[in-house]
């Protein structure tokens, strides 16, 4: 079900880091791109210069790309299709009289 990280960088290349930025407090960190850097500190500095030049963020996470474990795209049907037939999980499944339908 899972894919082992395959994005191991070339030996002569600095590791790749995925960058997540929190636009403002109250919002989650959101993936916005990636940078190459020798270490975490440099990744943070580069991410700041690259992704927050216009106050796009108040907090940055960097995660080494080869540490991310992703679901296998080929497993999409097994993973995600079963929820398609569970329409009773949605509020719209329940028909109520008009007087109380705003519930």
């Amino acid at each position: 079900m899972t894919q082992t990280p395959t994005d191991t960088p070339r030996r002569d290349e600095w590791p790749l880091w995925e960058v997540f930025v929190r636009a403002k407090n109250g919002l989650e960190h959101k993936h916005c791109g990636s940078v190459h850097a020798v270490d975490a500190r440099m990744a943070l500095e580069l991410a700041r210069d690259l992704y927050t030049r216009r106050q796009e963020g108040v907090s940055i996470w960097v995660v080494r790309s080869d540490q991310i474990v992703a679901s296998d795209p080929d497993a999409k049907p097994e993973l995600f299709d079963p929820s398609a037939d569970k329409i009773y999980r949605h509020p719209t499944f329940y028909r109520l009289p008009a007087e109380v339908d705003h519930m």
């Binding site: 791109g33 990636s34 940078v35 190459h36 020798v38 270490d39 440099m42 690259l50």
Partner: protein, 338 residues
Amino acid sequence: MYTQAMDLIAKEAGNTTPATAEPEAYQREFDAKIDRGDFIEPKDWMPEGYRKTLIRQISQHAHSEVVGMLPEGNWITRAPTLKRKAILLAKVQDEGGHGLYLYAAAETLGVSRTELIEALLSGKAKYSSIFNYPTLTWADVGVIGWLVDGAAIMNQIPLCKCSYGPYARAMVRICKEESFHQRQGYESLLVMMREGTPEQKAMVQDAVNRWWWPALMMFGPPDSESVHSPQSMRWGIKRVSNDELRQKFVDATVPQAEVLGVTLPDPHLKWNPERGHYDFGPINWKAFWDVINGHGPCNRDRMAARRRAWEEGAWVREAAEAYAEKAKRRATTHPTAA
């Protein structure tokens, strides 16, 4: 556009007839996604031709952003005021950022940053013809913002909806920043035209005269000769044709030139009420291909500048690696000292 040279590889990429070796079910699913207007993401199955074409298109685009820093960079130390210098620095820094967003998008397709940079420095990779022209006066900086970034915006907006997710997202980010580029250029020209001396006004007109035709060439060869386009359209990595974008650009620019008080150097430029568009004169495509193939006024300078920057930056890269190594060693020998 920034990827005009894509038409050079039309024949190479032409071996993209649905690969029979690929599992047919995957191909069908891919085609269905494209038809539905879904995005393709990095780990999804994709035809080899799609992957290769994207790598070349995105990397040409990235190289163009990076080389594109050079013509304007030429004026950073000589900007007329501190304000203009700060603006130009910010603009050029953005272009470097655009290059990085795009390199990262290309890397999701399985090519390494090192290979991409090597392809540029060896002269194997192409970049937009527009950056092989010199910036002779300060007015060139304003005209580049207005016309070159203006043309780039025309081309890039449809790419925000291209079928490859990482490319589309990079374009969204880039488009948000481009509007500043165009406006700052136009505004600086406006100041020269409205408050400048006769010499300064003449300087603006001269810069417009030199950049107009190269800007129109940015959209790439005419549709009739753009063999590459139909497949890219089918794949959703090109949304609007070269000629259509060029026309859109001309139509948008003529009124802006009027407000500015400059003329565009084309005696055939005329409103055509029947078409509802401006007609314009023939483009010198031989000049265009000369520049693409390395014979523009600045091709050698641009490549030499990129190579020099890469070589002279070597010690910085080595120092960063040595420092990271040392920090790692220290952390393992004195774990508490971190």
